[in-house]
């Protein structure tokens, strides 16, 4: 029995967490929301760092909390990455890594060497934490969380305290984790970019409640969610590198609903790729429009139309094959095109981001 069943109710002055979730027992699940949405609190409840009065938590068939049981944090087979690396200042990098290793009770799944290699911190082992950069510190923090061979990895905005450059430095390591280790991850974030890049499953939260919950592509394509995402509304499509056009420095990625040309980022052919298309970059027309600078146009069918946050704007949900897309346009344009569910249109995509 795989999967995480989490039900918590927690009342604090001015804040109530009330969630009931069934999460997949594999891949990366993003807990996404603005600050104060309760995502970190939920993560802390799962770690046992917060004790919800009413709660039930089973992880892959094991009860961690119910009416009678409550497993303290140090007995839960988790790894936890804090927002600030929170390394022990009195121990060297190696001392930090060994701290959990010595106390591990599970069979080893991640060797220390592997964790060190994965995060690229081999040259830092003798240093004290105060001699590390912010990015290095967080990599050590992640390696330390892996050093206990966790059966569930909990990450609380591990990149939030870092600047853009450091984020770019760490993201590839996180992707490697995702690809190389078979450890389910709960990843708290308020950044749509990180979610788009890393998550397989999305839980969107607001005011201590779950707003939406499901596989990343479907959930992002829900029309009630983009209103909250604003400019970041868009979808993520799983694709594969299928062709390279060296002349124009482009590659073609194929996905279930068609194909897209994107800038070549030297990804090898056959490689799995993730593509992000923002709603504001999708425009609609009745014809393919050959005479245009836009490289990618996909045939699609309108499945739903909804109001956006501004009264001038509408959100349109489309299907290209089985893959959902969303487009943001003015209501006037929608009216002009006489859009309605079931109608066949062309989706012109102004920008596609290849995100790994």
């Amino acid at each position: 029995m795989t999967g995480i069943d989490a039900r918590f109710r927690l009342d604090w002055p001015g804040f109530t967490l009330d969630v009931d979730l069934a999460l997949p027992g594999r891949g990366v699940t993003a807990l996404f929301g603005h600050s104060g949405s309760g995502k970190t609190t939920l993560l802390r409840c799962i770690a046992g760092l917060e004790r919800a009065r009413e709660g039930r938590l089973t992880v892959n068939g094991e009860v961690w909390q119910d009416e009678r049981h409550w497993l303290p944090t140090h007995k839960r087979p988790i790894g936890y990455v804090f927002q600030e690396a929170s390394l022990f200042p009195h121990l060297s990098v190696l001392g930090n890594l060994r701290y959990g290793m010595k106390r591990m009770f599970d069979p080893q799944r991640v060797s220390l060497d592997h964790a060190i290699e994965l995060l690229g911190i081999g040259h830092l082992l003798d240093r004290k934490p105060d001699r590390l950069s912010g990015g290095e510190r967080q990599r050590v923090g992640i390696a330390r969380a892996l050093s206990v061979s966790p059966r569930l990895l909990l990450m609380d905005e591990p990149l939030a305290a870092l600047d853009l450059k450091r984020k770019q430095e760490i993201l590839p390591y996180l992707e490697r984790l995702h690809d190389e280790l078979d450890i389910p991850v709960l990843y708290v974030s308020h950044s749509p970019d990180e979610v788009a890049r890393l998550a397989d499953h999305l839980v969107a939260m607001e005011d201590g409640k779950v707003l939406a919950d499901g596989p990343l592509g479907n959930t992002l394509a829900r029309l009630d969610l983009p209103i909250r995402l604003g400019e970041d509304a868009g979808v993520v499509i799983e694709a594969m590198v299928a062709e390279r056009d060296a002349n124009w420095h482009l590659i073609r990625v194929d996905f279930a609903g068609g194909q897209l040309w994107v800038r070549d980022n030297n990804m090898p052919l056959g490689h799995h790729a993730r593509v992000r298309i923002l709603a504001r970059d999708v425009s609609l027309s009745h014809d393919k429009g050959e005479d245009t600078s836009i490289l990618n146009a996909l045939p699609a069918r309108v499945t739903a139309i909804a109001d956006d946050s501004h009264p001038a704007l509408a959100l349109v949900r489309l299907d290209t094959g089985d893959t959902p897309l969303i487009a943001r346009l003015t209501k006037r344009s929608a009216n002009h095109l006489a859009l309605r569910p079931g109608m066949e249109v062309w989706a012109h995509i102004k920008a596609v981001a290849l995100i790994g």
Partner: protein, 225 residues
């Protein structure tokens, strides 16, 4: 320079202060830990009781201890029932009294050191499989090391300088309860000012060096990253 009885008083003082510091490290640490982390409504009252010797005149504390440890007092009846005899006029009576008297000097620096650590390192330790006790010894204690040093030095120095309580329950027995501060007092009262000056100078120099060590050490103490 110093007479035998003065050397005896100094040695007694050092022995008393060392034993009291050791005992208070054992007793004060859990109290400070509890005070630093509890959310119980008892935190206020317990903290106030611990701080009481700071505001109470030593002679008041000494008088109550004399009553409590005497044959009609609860402590006295307990120690006699346990076959330990009575505590006033004994070295161990001074130790017990000094433990009470110096308690805040151990607990308060430790409490603020523990509070300074915050929750986070302990949460980290818990996610790395460390039980609360394990985390206390392997994380909280090393991180609070400067606090331990401060607390131990303050406790030691304060016990050395203690006078009123010793006076009240000591009985001025040479080699047993006549510590340096009482000796100085005797000299002054007997108008033997030269002897008083000599012994006072020794105490002054000692106290200065203790505080020098304390203040010289502080800036070197590493802050958490």
């Amino acid at each position: 320079m110093l007479t035998d009885s003065e050397l005896q008083a100094i040695w007694l003082t050092v022995r008393l202060a060392s034993i009291v510091t050791l005992i208070l490290l054992l007793i004060g640490t859990p109290i400070a830990w509890w005070l630093a982390r509890t959310k119980s409504c008892w935190k206020g009252p317990v903290g106030a009781v611990v701080a009481l010797p700071l505001v109470l005149p030593p002679s008041v504390l000494g008088f109550y201890l004399l009553l409590a440890m005497g044959p009609y007092g609860p402590v006295g009846q307990l120690t006699e029932a346990l076959g330990l005899g009575r505590l006033p006029f004994t070295f161990w009576g001074l130790v017990v009294a000094s433990v009470f008297y110096s308690l805040p000097f151990m607990v308060q620096p430790l409490q603020s050191a523990f509070e300074g650590i915050g929750e986070r390192p302990l949460e980290v330790a818990a996610t790395l499989r460390a039980s609360p006790i394990d985390a206390f010894f392997t994380v909280a204690m090393p991180l609070a090391a400067p606090g331990f040093l401060t607390a131990a030095i303050l406790t030691f120095a304060h016990t050395v300088g203690e006078f009123g309580v010793v006076l009240m329950i000591g009985g001025n027995l040479p080699g047993v309860t006549r510590v340096a501060s009482v000796q100085i007092y005797d000299h002054v009262e007997a108008m033997e000012y030269a002897s008083a000056h000599r012994l006072s100078a020794v105490m002054l120099v000692f106290s200065f060096f203790v505080l020098l060590v304390l203040y010289a050490w502080r800036p070197g103490a590493k802050k958490g990253a």
